[in-house]
Structure formats: structure tokens, C-alpha cells
């Protein structure tokens, strides 16, 4: 099989061996969950339950409030204790529904009747996906139903399932492809038919030969789906890099995949779509890799949305070692968490616990112009220049130099010998440029 890739990028150490051979386990139903009404890009959902109300797992508790918004569901059976602002992993100040579990252990899914989806119309499928609160589970959390009905002037001809999982440590997508192979493949078929495209690719990095093999076997009789092996290189899973590698198409600067006729979805999203359409199960739980040298027993866990990190970490034997850093997401793009009270949300692909934080505080040197960041930037930007412009508040110049094209993959900061927090500076710059554009 030919191995495809993109230009530039980096090769960080993977550390996937901690969890890649551990099948997905189900976390026991937690005693309480905190479900934020904003877990997606777009406008927050509106609460439709009252304090004190009994709710069932899968019941809608927050309603979509706009074109780009999403539904939120209860993830356990129980009682709404409060609806108030609460800690949010992204630091958002948003309403959160606090549900305490009812005494008896509760099965998560109420309606287990499966149905065939082939007879459903496109509109029906998209409506189910919307009502099921499905958003991009790779971490971007863009509402999936919006992606599946692109504007008329952007004809789509190809769907790509993103099975790269290029972040070190994370193995959730990998395990989903192994443990739920057929469901993922069915999910791809649902998306493909809904989009009305003739061709679908499943892109998998070649550090997961077992997934490539299993997915290839499962799709061998489906002519429109093709599994492609991609070189293990970060950030292979970034949409634009993935499209470049698989189709050799370049998304225009400032554009979206649909500008080159492509829709990309994550493995977890495909699985969620299958479960929603065929099993009537909305997005109330997700697979999360709990890993790192700071946790006793690394695991791949199926976790109800809204479960506190503390409960997850307790289940994995607790934190071990000193100077711990807890990261939501992968080590390259994830964000550090200041309190274990924050809940798992739809975009949580990993909980990474790293110990021995002394080396976290690295000495920062001035930029010595080594050019390493330029050599690895997959978007062909000049990261150190953009960071410096941002630091100096030269937003207009930063905009001209293409700061908004940064995908925040962190490759530049990974290689920087001066340990300059390049991504942080650039994020600030992007925020300011966007503010000024308004």
C-alpha cells in the first residue's frame, strides 16, 4: 500500500503503547454529571428542563438556538439539581445542568431497537444527527449536521474519514476502529450517502497497521470506500494536511475543505452518527483516552458527557507522582486543566496526566533565527515572525503575514530551541485580528 503524506511537520515521540492495546472500557455511571450547555462551536443551547425535574439518559435538556448550534442531552438518569454557571474546561462562562444520579443503577440507553437506515431520506438523517447533538469529536466540535448540508455553490465529491489520530498518546480513535469496526464503517456509509458522494476515503496513519488491516477487510466489499495508509507524521490529522495527503488538493488560504469539494469527519463522529441513526442513541457518551505517566492505570474509557475529571481519574487509580499537569486533549494542542472538578465534554478526546513538571518551566531565550519553526510549519508560515508581531501588537502586519492561517498545531513551539511560546503569542494575535475585523 502506498503511503501518502504532506510537506513539513514533525515526528514527536508517540507514547501510544500506554493504551493502544487496551480495549475500550465503560466507566461505571457516575453519581453526578455537570453538562455545560455550550460544548460546541456556535451559539449555546437553551435549557429546556427545570430545577428538580427528573430526566432520563438521552433526554434533550438543551435546545439548539441557531443555525450553528447543537442539542444537549442528559447523559444519566437522575434529577436536575441546579442549572447554573460552573467550571468549564475551556474557561467559558456557560450555563451547566447539574444532574444527580437516581438511586438505582441505570442503563444508559433507553431504546435499543435498531433500525435500518437505508430507507431514510437525506433530510431525515441530517435531522436525526442534529437532534442527537452530534458535533465534530476530533476536538473542534463543529456541529456535524451543518457540515453535512454544504451550500449549493460548493459541490462535494469526496468524503474523508479522519483516522489519523496524529496527537501523541491518544488512542481513542484507534480503539474505536478496532473495537467498533463495523459501526464505524456503517457510519461512513451513512455520511457518504447523505452527502451524495461517490467516493469515501478512510485515512489512517501507518503506526496503526492493525486498524488499517481491520478497516480494509471490513470495507473490501464496499467499492466506494477506500482505506489509505498515511505516513506517521504530525499534524497529519489536520484537515488541510489530510486532504493534501489523500487527494493532493490544496484548500485555499482562509478557505474550508468544502472549497475543494471535501468533507472530513473524525472516527468518533462517524461512530456517533451510526449510533444516533441506527440505535437511536444521542451523543451522551464518548471514548476518551486517559493516559500519561502521571496516572496509575492508563485506559481507553467510554465516559458519559459531564462526568467530572476527578471521577475518571479515580477510576484509573488516581494521579501518581509530583508536579502534575492534567491536559484535556493531546499533548500538542490540548489545554491544561486547573481543577479536576471540570467535566468531560463532547470535544474531550483525551485526558493526559504528565508528572515531573519541573521541566515544564523551561528557560526562554531570544529568537536566534534558526529557522526551525519555518522548516516545520505545515502551513508555510513564519511562526517566529508572527509571534513577534503579535507580541508587539502589530495586528495589521500580522494579518498581512497570514496569521489567521495558523492551525495552532504547535509544531513550531515543539522544535523551538529558544522555547518561545509561539502558539500562545499567535493565538492572541489571531484573536485580536479577528476582533479588529468585526
Amino acid at each position: 500500500m502506498k503511503v501518502l503524506t504532506f510537506r513539513k511537520g514533525i515526528h514527536p515521540k508517540e507514547f501510544k503503547e500506554l493504551t493502544e492495546h487496551k480495549p475500550i472500557e465503560k466507566l461505571p455511571t457516575p453519581k453526578e454529571v455537570f453538562i455545560p450547555l455550550q460544548q460546541h462551536i456556535g451559539s449555546p443551547a437553551k435549557a429546556v428542563v427545570q430545577k428538580g425535574e427528573e430526566v432520563k439518559a438521552g433526554q434533550i435538556i438543551g435546545e439548539s438556538t441557531g443555525f450553528i448550534s447543537s442539542y444537549i442531552h442528559a447523559s444519566i438518569n437522575g434529577k436536575v439539581k441546579t442549572i447554573d454557571t460552573f467550571l468549564h474546561p475551556l474557561g467559558l462562562s456557560t450555563q451547566t445542568v447539574h444532574i444527580t444520579s437516581s438511586e438505582e443503577a441505570n442503563p444508559l440507553v433507553t431504546d435499543s431497537d435498531t433500525k435500518s437506515w437505508e430507507s431514510l431520506s437525506k433530510e431525515d438523517i441530517i435531522s436525526i444527527i442534529e437532534k442527537s447533538g452530534i458535533v465534530g469529536l476530533g476536538g473542534a466540535t463543529f456541529p456535524t449536521h451543518v457540515k453535512l448540508k454544504p451550500p449549493k455553490d460548493k459541490p462535494i465529491d469526496t468524503f474523508i474519514l479522519n483516522g489519523c489520530e496524529c496527537e501523541p498518546y491518544l488512542t481513542a480513535d484507534h480503539r474505536m476502529m478496532l473495537d467498533f469496526t463495523d459501526k464505524v464503517v456503517q457510519g461512513v456509509l451513512i455520511i457518504t450517502r447523505t452527502l451524495g458522494v461517490k467516493k469515501a476515503y478512510i485515512g489512517i496513519e501507518n503506526n496503526k497497521p492493525d486498524a488499517i488491516e481491520k478497516m480494509s477487510k471490513a470495507t473490501s466489499k464496499i467499492p466506494e470506500i477506500e482505506v489509505v495508509a498515511l505516513k506517521t507524521k504530525y499534524p497529519q490529522g489536520a484537515e488541510k494536511m489530510l486532504i493534501k495527503a489523500v487527494l493532493d488538493r490544496t484548500v485555499p488560504a482562509g478557505g474550508l475543505p468544502m472549497d475543494v469539494g471535501v468533507v472530513v469527519n473524525n472516527v468518533g463522529t462517524a461512530l456517533a452518527i451510526y449510533e444516533a441513526v441506527v440505535e437511536n442513541k444521542p451523543l451522551i457518551e464518548r471514548v476518551v483516552t486517559v493516559t500519561g505517566n502521571g496516572i496509575k492505570e492508563p485506559k481507553n474509557l467510554l465516559i458519559p458527557i459531564g462526568t467530572k475529571l476527578k471521577d475518571v481519574i479515580d477510576y484509573c487509580g488516581g494521579l501518581t507522582g509530583d508536579n502534575i499537569k492534567v491536559i484535556m486533549g493531546g499533548p500538542m494542542m490540548g489545554i491544561t486543566i486547573g481543577s479536576l472538578e471540570v467535566p468531560v465534554i463532547k470535544g474531550t478526546s483525551g485526558i493526559l496526566c504528565l508528572k515531573d513538571g519541573k521541566n515544564f518551566a523551561e528557560t526562554v531565550y531570544p529568537c536566534i533565527g534558526c529557522g526551525s519553526c519555518t522548516r516545520v510549519c505545515p502551513m508555510n508560515l513564519l511562526p517566529t515572525k508572527l509571534a513577534r508581531l503579535s507580541e508587539k501588537g502589530m495586528w495589521e502586519m500580522a494579518n498581512k503575514m497570514g496569521i489567521l492561517n495558523c492551525i495552532e498545531c504547535g509544531s513550531c513551539a515543539y522544535v523551538c530551541p529558544s522555547h518561545i511560546p509561539l502558539v500562545q503569542h499567535i493565538k492572541v494575535g489571531k484573536f485580536m485580528v479577528n476582533q479588529l475585523k468585526k
Binding site: I10, K13, T250, A253, I335, I337, Y365, G371, N380, P417
Partner: protein
């Protein structure tokens, strides 16, 4: 009231930091000290050929560089960063491109000028426009023109010929049309600056730098390549008047300059295309100075001049953003 909050999880401080949370392990000190190590072959050969006095010149220069940098940082109430090795490189590099007979006071003056004016006047590491070692050398060339062009024969040569002074291979050719055997040039048994004579030692260290990617290979390749091609053209036109390309490459300070000075990360372009332009420009300037200038050697000025246009080169060679239409 209950005193302590009970928590199933032991209270642990969670650290916060911006992403990414894993790093390559590369660091400025590691780069700098590696450069120092890769300069060791040339340094050792310099001491071998020019004796213990050469070693003293090197030590005086390094000590002056480190003390100057530390004092300036102390005076400006900045963090003292001499441990990162960059001052040591400047001191060492400057010493390697000085004649072995240079008086110690001149070494001190030159190094002080290089560090104080060439580096810290611009804001210190990372902000200087010119290679500090070359600024120090240019200052000495202007201040002590005779002392900077008085050459001693190597210890080996002294065994055969009884002479106090000699000329460099470039000087011999320019003023007397005498050629030097290639073996002597490669091996370094010729008059010249302390660390520039042994081409083999310089190339050995330089290649390590290139392999580790601590120097951009495009710069030495385009610099040396341009010198060879342009030098070759003139040699073909008139072999009597102009030296052959191999002589150009091996004689004088070109090897040291191409591998260790032109490649200085701070003062050379940071884009691939920029590196090519930098090397070709420096090579062209070198040939012009060597063949048509008043001096036999032009490495220093060719690099300094290209340093001055590096910010401009960086600006005009910005790579095209992925998906950008021009």
C-alpha cells in the same frame, strides 16, 4: 464548621502552561556548545601549527568575550546568560581568524568591541545584525592594519626555513604569483590565521554541524559553489592572472567562514530561498574582493555585507502560505 475539606483525591497542585506540552528537547545552549565542540578540530590544529601562543590568544579572546558579556548584562541589570555558550563562540571564532602573532592587548580590544558593539549594542543574543566575531575582526583590521597582516610561519615550516615572518597563500599569489601545493592547504601547513589553515579539520567539524542541522547546508554549498564557479570562469579566461577554483576554496579563511561564520543562525536568513541568495551573494562579493580589491582576502567583508541585507532577504523570500494565491 468543618475545618478541612475532605477530598478523595490527594490535594495536588496542577500546573498550567500553554500547548504544546511535549518538546523536542532542543535548546539554545545545546546548539551553542555543539558549535564550540565542532570548532575543536580547527582549534587543535591551529595550536598544533602555531604553538602555545596561539592557545593563549584563544584563551584571552574567550575570557574577554565572557567577561565583557557578563559585565554588560550586570550593568544593564539583565540575567547573566554567559553559560549558554554564545559568548564563548564569539571569542573562539574571533581568535581563530586572528594572526598568531597578534598582541594580546589587540585581542582584548577586538573581542571587547565585537561583544559590546557588535552584539550588545543591538540588544544582545538574537538581535545583532552582524556576526559579532567578524565585527571584532573588522575593527582590528581597521585599527591595527600591520599587526593584522603580519604572518608567522608554522612550527613545521620554522624547522626548515629560518624566517620570522611569512605570507599567506592568498598573499603569495596576489602579489608574487606563487602558488601553494594543495596538500599544504588541505593539511594546513601554511601561514595564516590561527584556525583557518587546516581545511580538513574545518570541514570535519562543519559537516557535523550540517548533519545536526545546526547550520543550513544551503549556505556553505551556495557560498563555496559560487566561489568555485566564478573563480573557475576567471581562471579559464586567464590562468596566469587568476588562481584556479580549488585554490580559491582551500586558501585563506573561506572554509572557516563558509561553515562557521556565514551559517550563524542569528545573522543569516531563516528561509531556504534566503539561504541560497545569502550564499551566492557572499560568494560573488568574495571573488570581487579577492580578484579586484586591494586586499588578498575577502571572506570577512563578504559575510558582513550579506549580514546587512539579511533582514531584507528574509522579507522578500517569505514562503508562500499553503493555499495562498499570489
Amino acid at each position: 464548621m468543618e475545618g478541612k475539606k475532605t477530598n478523595k483525591l490527594e490535594e495536588k497542585i496542577l500546573y498550567l502552561s500553554p500547548s504544546p506540552h511535549v518538546k523536542s528537547g532542543e535548546s539554545v545552549p545545546r546548539i551553542m556548545w555543539t558549535v564550540v565542540i565542532t570548532l575543536m578540530p580547527a582549534t587543535i590544529m591551529g595550536v598544533y601549527f602555531f604553538g602555545i601562543r596561539a592557545l593563549w590568544v584563544i584563551l584571552v579572546s574567550i575570557a574577554t568575550a565572557v567577561i565583557t558579556e557578563a559585565s554588560i548584562q550586570l550593568m544593564r541589570r539583565k540575567k547573566i546568560t554567559v553559560y549558554n555558550g554564545s559568548a564563548v563562540i564569539t571569542g573562539l571564532l574571533l581568535a581563530l581568524c586572528l594572526p598568531p602573532s597578534i598582541p594580546y592587548y589587540a585581542v582584548i580590544i577586538g573581542t571587547f568591541f565585537g561583544i559590546a558593539v557588535g552584539k550588545h549594542a543591538f540588544g544582545g543574543l538574537g538581535y545583532n545584525i552582524f556576526n559579532p566575531a567578524l565585527i571584532g575582526r573588522a575593527f582590528l583590521q581597521a585599527s591595527f592594519p600591520v599587526k593584522m597582516t603580519t604572518w608567522t610561519p608554522t612550527l613545521l615550516q620554522q624547522k626548515c626555513v629560518d624566517a620570522v615572518t611569512t605570507a599567506t597563500p592568498l598573499g603569495l599569489f596576489k602579489f608574487e604569483k606563487v602558488t601553494t601545493p594543495y596538500v599544504d592547504l588541505l593539511w594546513g601547513n601554511v601561514g595564516g590565521c590561527i584556525g583557518e589553515t587546516c581545511a580538513i579539520a574545518i570541514i570535519a567539524g562543519g559537516i557535523i554541524l550540517l548533519v545536526l542541522r545546526y547550520a543550513d547546508w544551503r549556505i556553505p554549498l551556495s557560498y563555496l559553489g559560487t566561489v568555485a564557479i566564478l573563480g573557475g570562469i576567471f581562471w579559464l579566461i586567464n590562468p596566469e592572472q587568476y588562481p584556479d577554483p580549488l585554490f580559491h576554496l582551500l586558501a585563506g579563511g573561506l572554509m572557516l567562514g563558509a561553515f562557521f561564520m556565514a551559517t550563524d543562525m542569528v545573522t543569516s536568513p531563516s528561509t531556504p530561498l534566503g539561504s541560497w541568495i545569502f550564499g551566492i551573494g557572499a560568494g560573488t562579493l568574495l571573488i570581487i574582493i579577492r580578484l579586484f580589491g586591494g586586499l588578498p582576502e575577502g571572506v570577512m567583508y563578504s559575510i558582513i555585507l550579506m549580514n546587512s541585507v539579511t533582514p531584507l532577504i528574509n522579507m522578500f523570500t517569505r514562503p508562500k502560505i499553503l493555499g495562498e494565491k499570489k
